[in-house]
Symmetry: C2
Subunit: 341 residues, 2 copies
């Protein structure tokens, strides 16, 4: 089985974006604020948006199952207040849940949180609870910078984040550390902000002793870990300078990298440098880079091709495709086993 642990609902029916635009207008002009109930998307519309897109590509690429969360760039936690984020997160999470019920063999939901700039992250717990207990979500996306590129939140090691970690530990769910749209003109969203956030989050973990406080907490760093594997020597050296244990002890029981790296040399480096136990298959398909690579003739985000061609053993490949995901996402494993998969 091949599990893609990083899929977003980037192809939701246009009505979703239209509703969101009205919500954003409503922040300034409260009389125009739409009710959540005004958004109506039928099951047929959901089915079509998935069958024509993600599911079609999953079949073409031989992928069995995707951990599916709301579109990352649309989370936009910097827009409006907690109430705005809360309504928006509830809508987006419900859609991913509905997709998972329409295609139970192919999609398992992960939740976005109703984070809001400057608001206590503990306010996200009711939505998290609802998503895990009622919607069967197996993970969350945690935004280390709800400001959208101003980076005014404390590092992930700060105690203000702990209420979320306590809940994650209780439910035994991992968090993908994933920012959203950059509203800072210095940072291009998918070309700079995403990768920077990955590197930043890893370094926030490295300088701290977060995983001493939460030995079972698990973070997935997307986009192949940003700059981290390419600079693994630098990070090993910085850890040494900071008198931290070896990274294998200090971070690799808790931090995992996905394979959203869109060319063969990148995946080759990732699999050469990072222990196989810490690599999770993912494509983030129909995401940042949707085109066909003229050098190969295949989609940039068809990451399975790179993993197939990497110099690893068949056993290691199975770990990356399935075994590690079952270990890092135990609620996914339980769900699969309940269906005898």
């Amino acid at each position: 089985m091949i599990i893609d642990i990083h899929g977003h609902y980037t192809t939701a029916p246009k009505a979703l974006e239209a509703w969101r635009n009205r919500q954003i207008e409503g922040i300034i002009e409260p009389s125009r604020m739409p009710a959540a109930a005004e958004l109506r998307i039928s099951d047929d519309e959901l089915r079509e948006s998935i069958e024509r897109n993600q599911l079609r590509l999953m079949r073409e690429r031989g992928l069995d199952l995707t951990i599916f969360s709301p579109r990352a760039s649309f989370m936009a936690h910097h827009i409006g207040d907690f109430q705005v984020s809360s309504t928006w997160a509830a809508i987006c999470n419900e859609l991913c849940y509905r997709v998972s019920t329409l295609f139970p063999d192919h999609f398992v939901p992960a939740a976005m949180l109703p984070q809001s700039r400057g608001v206590d992250v503990a306010t996200c717990i009711p939505e998290l609870t609802r998503c895990v207990e009622q919607y069967g979500n197996v993970a969350i996306n945690l935004n280390p910078d709800p400001s959208g590129g101003r980076w005014d939140s404390p590092p992930l090691s700060d105690r203000s984040w702990y209420p979320i970690y306590e809940k994650m530990v209780e439910y035994d769910i991992p968090a993908m550390i994933h920012v959203s749209t950059s509203c800072n003109p210095a940072f291009h969203t998918t070309g700079a902000h995403y990768l920077n956030a990955d590197t930043t989050a890893f370094m926030q973990c490295l300088t701290s002793d977060l995983f001493k406080d939460f030995p079972t907490l698990r973070f997935v760093i997307p986009h192949g870990g940003g700059a981290v594997p390419y600079h693994w020597g630098r990070f090993r050296g910085l850890a040494q300078e900071l008198k931290k244990p070896l990274l294998s002890e200090h971070l690799l029981h808790n931090v995992f990298f996905d394979t959203c790296v869109y060319h063969q040399p990148g995946i080759d480096l990732l699999t050469r440098v990072i222990p196989v136990d810490n690599i999770l298959f993912a494509s983030e398909m129909i995401g940042a880079v949707r085109g066909i690579d003229p050098e190969t003739g295949y989609y940039f985000d068809d990451t399975r091709r790179y993993v197939e061609a990497a110099a690893i053993t068949p056993d290691e490949r199975r770990q990356i495709y399935e075994g590690n995901a079952r270990r890092v996402y135990p609620r996914l494993d339980a769900k699969l086993k309940a269906r005898e998969r």
Copy 2:
């Protein structure tokens, strides 16, 4: 000949830091502001600080010459106003110049600029002019984020940066794009902020048509280009999505990467992905990562070992060590030729 294009004066006599601390106190308490003339460092002190450190390691590693600029983390353009930065830059640049006169065979200076948060970058031109015309500097370091991690400057493609570019073109000098200390607790200086800045700057160039306006402008992206080579497929795909030309046309006449990547797999990826014409040898020695790699028994920042072991031809290695530096830094080439090197 082996030219290290990325060296900073990280080992300056302690009197320098003491003077700077007094200057910082003087921002709040003007009566304590020291005069520049109060800093006294003798030639012998300079000699010793270099001979025991950079020069000793250069000899051990077989490096002939270093392009030498003030310590990057000490630039701290977010501290004080333009006057503070101006005095500080003048002092630091003078020290690097003095080092270059004491060791003319081994050190060639590059200038820091007296940038200051929110101040027109054109104010840096007098110092730039002085450094090129009087001190023989062959390059500058340009900080894309003088705020120290708040990222409130416009992208490098913004016209507000153009006065510096016009001067660079006039003098035919490149800029290394290099941030300084992060005062944002989200960003570790050398583990996140530096690498993020590299990625950010590259993407600012990619989304713009800066090099149409300045076809001969040259940027060196340090630290192996941040996350860029590891994600080269992503960047090629983003350029394609943005309807830009191929990166080889769009950026690679103007953008270069150094070899400050502190492990073999990173240098192997860099040399596999980036055309050899765009790679410049560098170590940033006695910098961010000063320890010995327990996996190899050698210094992390002994990058020559990695370049020696990379799968490239002797000709390509010579280009990385010397040829490219002479081409990208024509004033260095002229200086060397004048000394029949």
